[in-house]
């Protein structure tokens, strides 16, 4: 009984969070930019390379997410702090975890909807040639994990400030930094012994594994702990609101 109420509360909050995306123009701008950029980049290389594959598209996805995920998370806490609704929210009979989880799942669900709308790309490939559906599913799964990591990080950063623009820029920088430390050209320029560590810590390297269709528990665990870490930090920040 307790548990169902706990989940139901998260669900109600989540519903409100998701609705508030669609209540503001941000959602439509986000989906518009995401689809236009994605399709353009895809068809650009599709006709150029002449290969029936979504590999190229998915390898660009981390870069698109890099800008779009912070746009989704920037207002989640910053706006509540600015308008004072955080005082309403956190004096409701809900735990800090419930509030954090609801916001995270809300943004993830929104990203999921945006990703679903790109299903036309693999379908195009499917009609024009051969497609490896295993890779496609793997890529989408990887995209969700990668997106979830960006979102958890951005959500945490949003809880640190009242200003949405600051939240956006900081989240962008932080996401970029964590993504880039695992990239090949960075790894080549650092000493041999740190390279494997950096490769493991970087968000990107895990994505390319999954996107290739290889679902390794190591990568899943990496992403899950990354997301958990930042949600946990987020809950700590919210919990300590009374001390400043």
């Amino acid at each position: 009984m307790q548990k169902t109420i706990y989940i139901k509360t998260i669900y109600i909050l989540f519903k409100k969070e998701l609705m508030s995306y669609f209540n503001s123009p941000i959602a439509y701008i986000f989906i518009g930019v995401f689809l236009v950029a994605g399709n353009w980049l895809f068809f650009n290389s599709f006709f150029l390379v002449g290969q029936a594959s979504v590999r190229n598209y998915f390898s660009l996805l981390p870069w698109i997410f890099l800008f779009l995920a912070p746009a989704l998370t920037m207002r989640l806490w910053a706006e509540e702090k600015k308008t004072g609704t955080i005082e309403f929210l956190l004096t409701l009979p809900i735990s800090d975890w419930q509030a954090v989880l609801a916001k995270f799942i809300g943004s993830l669900a929104f990203m999921f909807i945006a990703l679903l709308l790109t299903i036309t790309l693999p379908l195009t490939v499917f009609f024009l040639g051969n497609i490896d559906w295993g890779t496609v599913v793997g890529s989408y799964l990887g995209a969700l994990f990668l997106g979830g990591s960006y979102l958890a990080l951005g959500l945490f950063i949003s809880s640190l400030t009242k200003n949405q623009i600051i939240a956006f820029v900081l989240a962008l920088i932080a996401s970029f930094a964590i993504f880039i430390i695992g990239a090949e050209f960075v790894l080549m320029s650092v000493p041999q012994f740190i390279a494997p560590i950096m490769k493991f810590l970087g968000l990107g390297s895990h994505f390319y594994n999954i996107a290739k269709g290889v679902i390794d528990t190591k990568d899943i665990i990496y992403y899950s702990s990354f997301i958990f870490l930042f949600l946990w930090l987020n809950a700590r920040v919210i919990e300590n609101r009374g001390w400043k």
């Binding site: 109420i5 509360t9 109600i12 909050l13 409100k16 508030s20 209540n23 503001s24 308008t83 004072g84 609704t85 955080i86 005082e87 309403f88 956190l90 004096t91 409701l92 009979p93 809900i94 735990s95 609101r241 009374g242 001390w243 400043k244």
Partner: protein, 309 residues
């Protein structure tokens, strides 16, 4: 219903609340008075579990908020000072969200929303987006949100600021009506409001309780409840000395000056003595003349100023 013991809140080294204790009985409307920055809002933020106290304890209906704040939050309806609302939602949609998150049973949600919409006078705006509402309507939505789950305790932080006189009257009546069954703490710096609505008053200043009681008790505590103001034509020193020596006079003070030999005096009598007759006799017998003469009651304003200066 509400028990507050030795509550202290420090931010850095600065004590915003300094060892405050008080309690509010069930069904009581408590007015929380004090100058800006006295600690009213801080106390409310702690009672509602938005902020943690540095030390001290708060109990709502026997439950310690530090031990089971989810339980106590269910019992509380809270209207913060800034009336924060989700502006992108419509009034009805917002109240439905609050009703759901407050765990009102699904089959009662509709009737609860209908009843708060009616009692808060929101019928005409229930389909409007919140960000298009006037200040008065926002305040009412805030109030509706606070009472929708029928809480035992209502915490209202300056619920009437920024409203026009008619709206103030409406909100006050509403508070009074709700207050028949609930425990209410409400802060304000409009003193007439306290007199009109509250059973009891706590005056807080610099993080400490400066006075508490019913409005009448507070007035009594400040000293005698009446002052006599008299404007006399005559030598300033003579008048002060002679009237000061008069039996039953506690204090005489020069309030204003109209001309060289015309001064206004405020006379505080010793308790319950009516000085007026003797006063006029002495003044006339001394050859001075009375230009103005009136009696004024000490108001809550005077008490407030006395206690918070």
């Amino acid at each position: 219903m509400i028990e507050i013991k030795n509550l202290t809140k420090k931010i850095g080294k600065n004590a915003i609340l300094d060892n405050i204790s008080f309690s509010v009985k069930k069904g009581e409307i408590l007015g929380f008075l004090g100058p800006n920055g006295a600690g009213k809002t801080t106390t409310m933020k702690i009672i509602t579990s938005f902020w943690l106290p540095t030390s001290g304890r708060v109990e709502i209906g026997g439950i310690n908020i530090a031990e089971n704040s989810l339980e106590t939050r269910m019992k509380i309806g809270y209207l913060p000072e800034t009336v924060p609302l989700y502006d992108d939602m419509k009034v009805y949609e917002y109240l439905k969200f609050v009703a759901e998150i407050r765990n009102i049973p699904q089959n009662k949600i509709k009737s609860r929303i209908k009843s708060v919409i009616e009692s808060c006078g929101l019928t005409s705006v229930s389909r409007q987006p919140i960000d298009e509402l006037s200040k008065g309507y926002r305040q009412r939505v805030g109030l509706a949100q606070a009472i929708i789950h029928n809480p035992d305790v209502l915490i209202l932080d300056e619920p009437t600021t920024g409203l026009d006189p008619n709206q103030i009257m409406e909100i006050r009546d509403l508070i009074k009506k709700i207050g028949e069954k609930k425990t209410i703490i409400f802060s304000t710096h409009i003193l007439s409001e306290v007199k009109a609505v509250c059973d009891r008053v706590i005056i807080i200043n610099g993080g400490k309780i400066a006075g508490q009681g019913t409005p009448e008790e507070l007035i009594k505590k400040t000293g005698s409840s009446e002052l006599i103001y008299v404007k006399i034509k005559g030598g300033k020193e003579d008048v002060s000395r002679k009237l000061g020596e008069m039996a039953g006079v506690k204090k005489i003070e020069i309030k204003d000056k109209e001309a060289d030999d015309i001064y206004g005096y405020e006379i505080e009598p010793e308790s319950e003595v009516d000085l007026r007759e003797n006063l006029s006799k002495i003044i006339l017998a001394s050859g001075w003349s009375i230009l103005e003469f009136n009696k004024k009651s000490i108001s809550l304003e005077d008490v407030f100023r006395e206690l918070t200066k």
